[in-house]
Symmetry: C2
Subunit: 279 residues, 2 copies
């Protein structure tokens, strides 16, 4: 039986990359939680001795510090550098791009709007890179724009990478209708949508589909529903212990996909079990 993984599945590119970086730097510490997944952070602690610092005060000279996927603020980056540490940057490249866009906006001509959650570490980090901290605003709704006294008649807008595109457009459109010029940077990442598209493509070409993820996870159930639509022998499991190898009997092509909160090692365990049965 041929086993194929979806072209996009499970953790997004930025999260996978950060985990790989962490695994290559045993006994280091992350500045804030590396990713938003406690199981994976526990595994990194247990298997790779990756510690977790919550404040800069905990950092010691010569520490190896891994920057979390969401990035950190400019101020904290400068402080870290001054502490004589070995800095390993695991910021998601899409977040780095976003930080650079904000850093490079001409603050003498453009006010800046960030569409996102002002309390999210990614947004706090991105905002900190703007040249003019008095002319950058974080909003989640169109209504919030009404309360802002913009310094310029031109506005640049960026988005937190995990936000909904329709809501982003609503805010951008309000600006377009009210400002002379609006520079719109669509910095939203397609990870969730890509997982769905890849599940669709793979399930069309498979005679059995295994979808791995939490049964309560909304995005995993969405993947399962898409899979069922194109491959009637689709199964949703949380881990390898739920895999009934008889499902694969007489099948030629097995497709595998996983929800956004499913770590690779759970997926690998499922693949191993399928391969063993297959031998």
């Amino acid at each position: 039986m041929q086993i194929r993984l979806a072209s996009h599945y499970g953790f997004c590119f930025g999260v996978k990359r950060a985990i790989n970086i962490a695994q290559k730097h045993k006994s280091s510490n992350t500045m804030g939680p590396l990713i938003h997944n406690q199981n994976e952070i526990d595994r990194l602690k247990n298997s790779f001795d990756i510690g977790l610092y919550h404040t800069l005060d905990e950092v010691k000279k010569n520490d190896t510090i891994i920057i979390r996927t969401h990035g950190i603020t400019k101020e904290n980056m400068l402080k870290l550098k001054s502490k004589d540490t070995n800095i390993i940057n695991a910021t998601c490249p899409y977040v780095t791009t976003l930080q650079n866009i904000v850093k490079n906006i001409d603050d003498t001509s453009y006010s800046i709007v960030i569409f996102g959650d002002a309390k999210h570490p990614e947004v706090m980090g991105v905002k900190s890179w703007a040249k003019n901290q008095k002319d950058i605003y974080v909003v989640l709704t169109v209504e919030e724009l009404d309360d802002i006294s913009f310094k310029h008649d031109k506005v640049a807008i960026v988005a937190q990478t995990t936000r909904n595109k329709e809501k982003f457009l609503e805010v951008a459109n309000k600006l377009i209708l009210n400002f002379k010029e609006v520079k719109v940077f669509n910095t939203i990442c397609d990870a969730t949508l890509q997982n769905q598209e890849a599940t669709k493509d793979l399930s069309k070409e498979s005679d059995i589909m295994i979808v791995i993820g939490g049964k309560n996870s909304s995005n995993t159930r969405q993947l399962f529903n898409i899979s069922k639509e194109f491959c009637k022998d689709s199964y949703l499991i949380e881990n390898s212990s739920e895999l009934d190898t008889s499902w694969a009997k007489d099948k030629q092509k097995c497709g595998i996909t996983a929800g956004a909160s499913t770590p690779d090692w759970i997926i690998e365990e499922v693949i191993e079990k399928l391969k063993e049965t297959n031998e």
Copy 2:
């Protein structure tokens, strides 16, 4: 009785300005029809000897040539200049702004989209000012974007000044979802909307409203409907001959507005008749 005109009414700012310019230059010729209103063009011919050239070949040395509200192409402007003429520019300032935006877009980074009618003189003029004529596209629908091979991953979009804002946003949004960066210049003029808002404000403060315009004119009927909503004694007339002065009997505050195709002189005749009755 106090007679008050709406803060915005009738011809838009650019058309009024062009007519004033023409009236100050008797016996000149316009390059193409000055505005899209034949009655007014006839009046300018009869009262101010303003002629109409359709092609550059008709232009003679030392002619005074008035550039129409919609502007002309860069090529025609250069040809006119080479013909040793006295050029009077009656291009609507909003159209000039639009031409300048297109002229100043960095063609080494941005492809350009014009949301508008490719055959409209304003759009043909605006398009001609772009540095790179091979990377500027005129579209009226979202679907038309699919057929374009853009040269850059950044796009700038502008709009013909008289277009609908909702449709403009549809096209801009499609670009935002597909390009790294989109510079949106909202170059749509608010004239129609402003006439409606001004009618609303004035009718609230009037005890009689006279709306002047063609009974078949869609924008005039819209003004009349708005007026009726806030002032029950609202009347729609095409010109002063339809004005029944008894309507104004015992009224204190008379408001006047006019549709977008109503020349000022028709409005003035109505005001004169009202004033005479009032004396």
